[in-house]
Symmetry: C2
Subunit: 311 residues, 2 copies
């Protein structure tokens, strides 16, 4: 309980330091969900994926090293932070460089948040009990980290059960952060598990989404209006329409905008029931336009244009 | 292809540097599976879980800080490395301290391997495509890391499909390392997904185990005799017997020895079909005996005794 109080108070002082958004209507947005909806009305719901993969570093003429990683992120954010409302950093591409890469990841999340842009940490952690508690702290409030929360939102994986993620939901709720639980993925290998049928006669993905909706309600609070739990649903997953029906009122992080099968029309066909709550993500289809800042800006503009259609 | 060759050569030079085990019969064990079976015959199959949780640090009178974390690990390994054949480090408890905790994790994995003890990194990563490739490198061969592989084995999570983990299986195979894919967990929240029934009429856990067995065969090579892929099966999971039937010939990492429901008899009732290939793990039930080295040694001896019954 003491920890929760400490976290909640750290969260509220962090919230009061947060830069007011330009078109603030005087009523402070509270919690990730409200903040996203506000930024979305100003900058479109588009979320840029920060994926400093080895192949992108090479394509940009950068070294496959910690300094190349830092240079790539600095250049991308230099262009993007004035344009988009959210950036999703893919943890794997930072962890590739060991603890030094994790240091850069921490710095970049701080740099994104300092500009009033929402920072989503895509790490897909999932475990049980005290281990899950530790992952919750690792992703949102590491020991010794002065900037709390570390990220405005994180992703999590439910193979060990959505309910096993409770420590993460609770901490996110107290901090005004958000958790996107992976529900339906676009890759064909995921179907065998996600499409299997449980004892209740429902598909696994339906059960996962029902529990996500439950936890969204359970975490709806003064710190997190609208709740602290949503879903990752691939815009091109065959299970997307089934998933979306169960995700009333929650935010839906949808990777793949601008990629194969990722036109706004195709996103709406699959995810239409969540229109206004969709956060479409694109990484490679934007980043491969770099390193030239003008071309990168054009690619960002094109994706922001597409994303407006999902509001 | 060049990367694979580079990795394979790094792996073989690392293998030649590896300390000869005391009772070596003159035939070098190649790959994690053979090395485990050899160490298991000398020290029992017991694997100590290195779980420096906040509550254990407090119980040991240590600060909840990076130096407390390091002190805890140093003391545990100081006692354990002369007694056990394998140590499983839980990544979450290091990631709690941000990049500085990850630095300690890297040091500890190195310290374990330097003593000829098998280091298992429990990180349960799971993603797709180039992201999964990046996680494979992060866990086994980070850029700029001179000690390759970083760990002798790692864990992974299959919600996005066992086959999506292929980049990790391939890298582990080339390096003589091993991947334990989470199949059946002991926590009740995991049953809804793991026990659901897929199109083939099989449970999800059966499909997962069938693909694990497939990849074990596909990675059986000169660098990784017996294959590079096995499973995590909770010794107290109700799905354990169903899982084990599909896991012929692979290693089974089984958490919970010495915990509630974790007697050797109970483990054998659930996992008996894998007798000789079971790696029983205990963390808290050993570590709570510390910090007194004599008590810690006694607790380790008791668990090693129990583990002999699983050979």
């Amino acid at each position: 309980v003491e920890d929760e109080e400490a976290s909640a108070s750290a969260a509220s002082s962090s919230a009061s330091n947060r830069r007011e958004t330009e078109e603030s209507d005087g009523i402070a947005a509270v919690g990730f969900s409200e903040r996203f909806l506000q930024l979305s009305s100003q900058r479109s719901p588009f979320c840029l994926g920060l994926d400093p993969s080895a192949s992108l570093l090479a394509a940009w003429g950068l070294e496959d090293s910690v300094s190349g990683l830092q240079e790539f992120c600095d250049r991308v954010l230099g262009v993007a932070l004035g344009m988009v409302g959210a950036v999703k950093a893919q943890s794997a591409f930072f962890e590739r460089f060991g603890h030094q890469g994790v240091r850069i990841l921490e710095e970049m999340l701080g740099a994104i948040r300092a500009e009033g842009v929402l920072a989503i940490l895509d790490a897909k952690r999932g475990d049980v009990g005290s281990t899950m508690e530790a992952y919750a702290q690792a992703m949102l409030s590491p020991v010794g980290c002065s900037a709390v929360p570390l990220a405005d939102a994180v992703t999590a994986s439910p193979y060990l059960g959505v309910d096993a993620l409770e420590p993460l939901f609770r901490l996110a709720g107290a901090l005004g952060s958000y958790v996107f639980v992976v529900a339906a993925s676009s890759n064909p290998e995921g179907l065998a598990t996600q499409g299997a049928v449980g004892e209740s006669g429902e598909k696994v993905v339906e059960g996962v989404c029902a529990r996500i909706a439950h936890w969204a309600q359970a975490t709806d609070s003064a710190e997190s209006r609208g709740g602290a739990v949503g879903a990752v649903v691939g815009g091109t997953s065959p299970l997307a329409p089934v998933a979306i029906r169960r995700l009333e009122g929650v935010l839906v992080l949808a990777p793949g905008l601008g990629a194969q099968g990722g036109t706004p029309e195709q996103f709406l066909a699959a995810l239409g029931a969540a229109k206004g709550r969709i956060i479409p993500v694109a990484a490679r289809s934007v980043l491969r336009a770099g390193p030239d800042p003008a071309r990168l800006t054009d690619a960002l503009r094109a994706h922001i244009e597409m994303a407006w259609q999902l509001r």
